[in-house]
């Protein structure tokens, strides 16, 4: 199959993954960050997590793939389950399984600076999935092509612009053939004219049916691309519905206040 044909077709496995959170609680040094969050995200959904700073959005996202341990409750990602407590033993191995299903993209990219763009993408398939080097490379090149950066394959991260770095980071996450992506404010560090190139990649992924869970301040993008908007405030979900409903007719005063500040 040619790279172009695959790029045009459905994503890996062609389907998203279901994510469920039950009664999730988390405190940092006595301060409650998540106070019993319940969410069910069906496979293939695109969910935007919005809300004021310190509301617990990033923490919730990081609990989903085990980067942050939680105090009580449960996280289910497809067949994988994370239990409360430290990420050791059984929890650590479920977290690793979950991370293969659920990729993550960071606000500050976190590309590996000592590897070129293509090596960044190949690294995990090569070492974690033990894919042969040749197929890992051609897959990495296909992904680079898909995010429009095939000509930068042998550039090091520091030689790329912010938008290019973030697109490489997306390609790196996609190389593990995940069925969902966690995006933690992935356009916040970008200049306005660079945000578009990243967001359009995400829209392409949504069309392929991958589950997308995004912490974002891009209300316009949320309105256009999300199936569902969650508003998280003081560790609780205070609003949950389609973008038209939540963004245009918020039920709570807190949400209205938040939206009016952010839309100015």
């Amino acid at each position: 199959m040619s790279a172009a044909a695959r790029a045009a077709g459905a994503g890996p496995d062609g389907a998203g993954i279901e994510v469920r959170v039950e009664s999730l609680r988390k405190s940092f040094a006595g301060r409650q960050v998540l106070g019993g969050v319940d969410v069910a995200i069906p496979a293939g959904a695109t969910v935007a997590l919005i809300g004021p700073s310190g509301g617990g959005k990033s923490t919730l996202l990081r609990c989903l793939n085990g980067l942050t341990a939680f105090d009580s409750g449960l996280v289910r990602v497809g067949p994988g389950v994370l239990m409360p407590g430290p990420m050791t033993g059984e929890n650590a191995s479920s977290a690793r399984d979950i991370r293969k299903l659920l990729g993550m993209i960071f606000q500050d990219f976190q590309l590996f600076p000592h590897l070129t763009a293509v090596e960044n993408i190949m690294e995990a398939p090569l070492r974690v999935l033990r894919v042969p080097r040749e197929s890992a490379r051609s897959e990495a090149e296909r992904l680079l092509d898909r995010v429009g950066l095939l000509d930068r394959a042998s550039s090091y991260p520091r030689q790329l612009s912010g938008g290019q770095k973030q697109r490489v980071a997306i390609a790196r996450a996609l190389a593990m053939s995940p069925r969902g992506l966690l995006c933690d404010e992935i356009t916040s560090a970008l200049d306005p004219e660079l945000k578009g190139e990243v967001l359009s990649v995400l829209e392409g992924l949504k069309r392929e049916g991958i589950t997308l869970i995004m912490v974002t301040h891009e209300i316009g993008f949320a309105r256009r691309a999300a199936d569902r908007v969650l508003v998280l405030e003081s560790g609780a979900i205070i609003e949950d519905g389609p973008p038209a409903e939540v963004l245009d007719h918020p039920r709570t005063a807190r949400t209205r206040q938040f939206l009016s500040r952010i839309l100015i």
């Binding site: 600076p113 000592h114 690294e123 974690v128 996450a173």
Partner: protein
Amino acid sequence: MRVRWRHVLCPIGARRVSRALSNFLLAAAGIAAASGATLAHGATPPPLLWATDAEGGAPYIFKDPKNPNRDIGFEVDIVRELEREIQRPIEMRQYAYSSLILGVQRGDCDFAMNGLEVTPDRKEKVLFSRPYYVFMEQLVVRRDEGRFGDLEGCRKIGCRVGTLEDTAADRLLKAQGIEDVMYDGVVEPYRDLALGRVDAVLLDLPIAVSYARPNPALRFAGPPFARGYYAIALPKESVALKAEIDAALDRMLADGRLRRIYEAWGMWNEAQEDLVQSRGDDILAESRREWTIGRYAPLLFRSAVMTVFIAVLSFGLAILIALPLALARLYAPAPLRWLAVGYVEFFRGIPVLLLLYVLYYGLADLSAASGLGASLRLQPLQAAILGLGLNYAAYEAEIYRAGIGAVPHGQWEAAASLGMTGFLAFRRIILPQAIRTILPPMTSDFVALFKDTSIVSTIAVVELSKQYQILSKSSMKYLEIGLLTAALYLLMSLPLGWVSRRLEAIWGRGIL
């Protein structure tokens, strides 16, 4: 008789200053003290400066066990007689034994007398008085030694024989092709003999009498042999003083004063009869050694290889210990972390020299005392590599900790979010980035270790610096051999810098 004993380190070139200082001190302290005689004589000639190493040991000159402020020994007695004979006060100056000839040659002292053997190469540099003692070599073995009884038997079975560096005994061993183990002091060779690290010790008879005879674990093997002469060394131009000293020694020999001194120290033997006949000049017939570059260069090269060997192995050991230490300090739970901190503080805080002594001598004692036999009795090379490795591990661990800690935490998370295990993330993502920060200080440390290897000569390992000392002392070619030695060190360390820069460039791609 006024011998003014003062232990002032006499740095080469500082003679005038120290003499002015000593005059001042004498003037200040001397009004009430022993200066009555001086004043009575009116114009007293300035004192002669006698260079010796008071740490050289019995019976030459050593601290009086009953009064540590006093030096005693047969050479002290001879100097007192000399003072009377030549009518001049003599002041003692403390010198490292190895600098005695150099000090005399440069005229920093009036003469040196400290069991100095007359050898052809020394004769080229200094003037020797008539001999004042005929020494012989004494082979000492363990009491239960049954394999050999003399040096020839020793050579046949390939024994290792301990001795002092740059002595007639060592030349003798080298000439006979016997493996020599070199020491700095006179106590350690007999100690190692008792411990079984060497098979025999060959040293001058007076030393053997003082240090080996009292030890019940050791015995003399056969009679003493191979005569040589001790004489007083003077600067080349001091012809008049030499004549004065020669005449004084002649008189002391003729009227039996020398003999009485030797008898008092249990050193008189028939060989001393030779003193009457021997004059300074006929000793040159001794084996003449021509220290050409072709002669000493191979020895230097061989010890350079030894230096590389020690440096590479101990640095390898340091790295092996340091990495887990650094990881324990960064990521381990409390008790393990404290252990790692303790290790670093301890080994960084104690001198390597102390560590080497404890590993080499202390462990051997412990091993014997706790009934473990020879199991902890390290060979010199083992102790050297272990000591340097343990010490440098502390420094490396701190460098690694800083380097690894400097990689942003987000890199761990990015690696984890791709399904990598902690070990894989460390190996593939964190370490390669940390190495860039670690490499420059690590290279500096390796170069420093290269030079620090010179310290292991204290436990009878001959590496490049030690070989330089030995060869330069034997040949008196301090500058010439020094330059070659320096060149060898540079040859070894310069490529390291280059390799380090190359590696930095390779691993730093994308980061720098």
